[in-house]
C-alpha cells in the first residue's frame, strides 16, 4: 500500500518529527509534530485516513507533510510561524482499513461513529448503526470501549490539543457531494455550537483571504445527523475544560464530481471516494494546500481575528 509505505519512509527519514501513536494489527499510526514545544501555543491538527476507502484524504495530508518537511530546510517564514504554534499531522488513522480497502477499521467499526453516543441524533443507518458490523457505519457495541485508533486520537487531542488556548483540527474525508465542504460541529444535532461566532469569523477570513476558494462552510448535521461522531465528542470535551477554543473542521471533498467526469469509476469502491484519473489526482493534491496554509496562518495569528 503506497500511502503507508510513503509514511514509513517519511517517518524513517525524519525520526525527530515522527512518533508512533499506536500500532494496530502490527501497522503503525504515525504522528508528525512540528513547531513550538510550548504546550500553551496554538495548535493545528490535521488528520486523514479515518475511513480506509478515502485514500485521497491521506494523500492530501502526506502532500502537506512533505511540503512542511521540505520547507523546513529553507523557509524562514515557516520557521517563524512554527516558533509560535504547533502543527500535528496524523495522516493515516486507519491503516488496517486502508490496507484492506474498506471504510471501517479491522474490527468492522466506523471510527467516525465510535465515540460515546449522545442519546439523540443519527439518521438511520448512515448516521450510525449497531445492527451488524458487516454493514457500513457500524458504531461498535453499545457501552463497549472505543476502538484503539479512535481512543488513540482522543488521547492525543486531550494531551496536546485541548490544553492549548486555541486550536483548529482539520479532518480530511471524501465521498459526499459535488463541491468541497468544510463542516463544523455538530454532527449529531443542527443546534449551533458554542463557537459559532468563531467559526463564522474564520469563514469570513477565508472569504477575504482566498476570495476564489472552493469551499462551502456548513454544519455537518445539515446533510444528515451522526451518532457517536468523534469530533462532536472532542469538541464537547474541549468546551467542558473551560476557556479556549477548538474548532474542529471536516474537509469533505466532493467526490461525486470525479465520478460525474469519469462515470466508470463508480463501479469500483475506491473510485467512488477517490480521483482515479492521474491529472485529476494531481489537481486534488495541490488544490487543498492553500487551505492548509491558510489554517496554519490563522492558527498562528488567532488573536487577530478571533471574536472576543
Amino acid at each position: 500500500m503506497k500511502q503507508l509505505e510513503a509514511l514509513d519512509r517519511l517517518a524513517a527519514a525524519r525520526p525527530d518529527l515522527a512518533t508512533e501513536l499506536v500500532r494496530v494489527e502490527d501497522r503503525p499510526i504515525h504522528t508528525f509534530r512540528f513547531g513550538a514545544a510550548d504546550r500553551t501555543s496554538p495548535v493545528l491538527l490535521v488528520v486523514g485516513g479515518v475511513h480506509g476507502l478515502e485514500r485521497i484524504g491521506t494523500e492530501v495530508a502526506i502532500a502537506f507533510l512533505t511540503a512542511l518537511v521540505t520547507r523546513l530546510r529553507w523557509d524562514q517564514v515557516l520557521h517563524d510561524a512554527l516558533a509560535r504554534c504547533r502543527v500535528i499531522v496524523v495522516p493515516l488513522l486507519n491503516p488496517v482499513g486502508m490496507a484492506r480497502g474498506q471504510r471501517a477499521n479491522g474490527n468492522g467499526v466506523d471510527l467516525m461513529r465510535n465515540a460515546p453516543a449522545h442519546p439523540f441524533g443519527g439518521t438511520p443507518l448512515l448516521g450510525g448503526q449497531r445492527l451488524s458490523r458487516r454493514l457500513p457505519w457500524y458504531m461498535g457495541p453499545a457501552n463497549g470501549p472505543m476502538e484503539a485508533e479512535a481512543a488513540a486520537l482522543v488521547e492525543l487531542v486531550e494531551r496536546e490539543v485541548i490544553p492549548a488556548p486555541f486550536s483548529i483540527a482539520l479532518d480530511l474525508h471524501s465521498g459526499y457531494g459535488f463541491v468541497d465542504r468544510l463542516w463544523y460541529p455538530y454532527a449529531r444535532t443542527r443546534e449551533a455550537p458554542a463557537d459559532l461566532a468563531a467559526i463564522r469569523a474564520l469563514g469570513a477570513l477565508l472569504d477575504e483571504t482566498l476570495p476564489n476558494h472552493v469551499y462551502r462552510l456548513e454544519q455537518t448535521a445539515q446533510a444528515y445527523t451522526i451518532r457517536g461522531d468523534l469530533w462532536d465528542y472532542l469538541y464537547d470535551r474541549r468546551i467542558s475544560t473551560g476557556p479556549g477554543s477548538l474548532l474542529p473542521l471536516t474537509l469533505e471533498m466532493g467526490s461525486w464530481a470525479w465520478v460525474r467526469k469519469n462515470p466508470s469509476q463508480a463501479l469500483s469502491s475506491l473510485g467512488r471516494f477517490n480521483p482515479l484519473v492521474p491529472h485529476r489526482h494531481r489537481r486534488i493534491l495541490r488544490r487543498h494546500l492553500p487551505l492548509l496554509d491558510f489554517l496554519l496562518h490563522a492558527t498562528v495569528s488567532y488573536r487577530a481575528w478571533l471574536p472576543k
Binding site: P119, F120, G121, G127, T189, E191, A192, Q222
Partner: protein, 146 residues
C-alpha cells in the same frame, strides 16, 4: 428548508422510538424542537435557570414558532390539547412527543409540562427577535399575555 424539516421529522421518529420514560420523551422533544428551529436559521436564548425539579410552565407565545422555541429551551412535554388544531397538527408532523397522560402523572414521572393554563408559579415567555427567540423563565405574575 422544507427538506431540512423533513430530515428533522425523519430523525425525530427514531429519537422518540429509542427513548424510555417521560424525562426521555421531554428531552427528545427539546432536541427535535431545537433542530427544527436551527433548520429555519433561528436560535434560542434562554434567560433564567431551569428548575431541577419537574414543574408546569405556563406558556406565553404568539405563534407556532414561538411555541417550538419554548420547547427547544427546556425539556418539557407540551399539553397540545390546549393549542389550536393546526398548531397541534404541525407539531405532530414534526414528530414532537406530546403529553399523553395527565399533568400530575407527568410530574410524578419526572417530566415538566408546558401548558397554556396557569397551574403553577412558573412560566415561559417567548419574544421574537430578528435572528431567533428569547425565552424567559419567570413567575406567572410577571407575565403579560401575548
Amino acid at each position: 428548508m422544507i427538506a431540512g424539516l423533513a430530515g428533522v421529522a425523519f430523525d425525530a421518529r427514531i429519537a422518540t422510538r429509542e427513548v424510555e420514560g417521560l424525562p426521555g420523551r421531554a428531552a427528545a422533544a427539546r432536541w427535535i424542537a431545537a433542530n427544527a428551529l436551527a433548520v429555519t436559521g433561528r436560535r434560542v436564548w434562554l434567560v433564567g435557570t431551569p428548575p431541577a425539579a419537574p414543574r408546569v410552565f405556563a406558556l406565553r407565545a404568539g405563534c407556532l414558532a414561538s411555541v417550538i422555541a419554548a420547547i427547544a429551551s427546556v425539556p418539557v412535554l407540551i399539553d397540545a390539547s390546549l393549542l389550536p388544531r393546526h398548531w397541534r397538527l404541525a407539531l405532530r408532523a414534526l414528530g414532537l412527543p406530546e403529553l399523553e397522560c395527565t399533568t400530575a402523572e407527568a410530574l410524578v414521572g419526572g417530566a415538566s409540562v408546558l401548558s397554556s393554563d396557569e397551574l403553577d408559579g412558573s412560566s415561559l415567555s417567548v419574544d421574537a427577535l430578528p435572528r431567533g427567540f428569547r425565552v424567559r423563565l419567570g413567575a406567572v405574575r410577571h407575565m403579560l399575555r401575548a
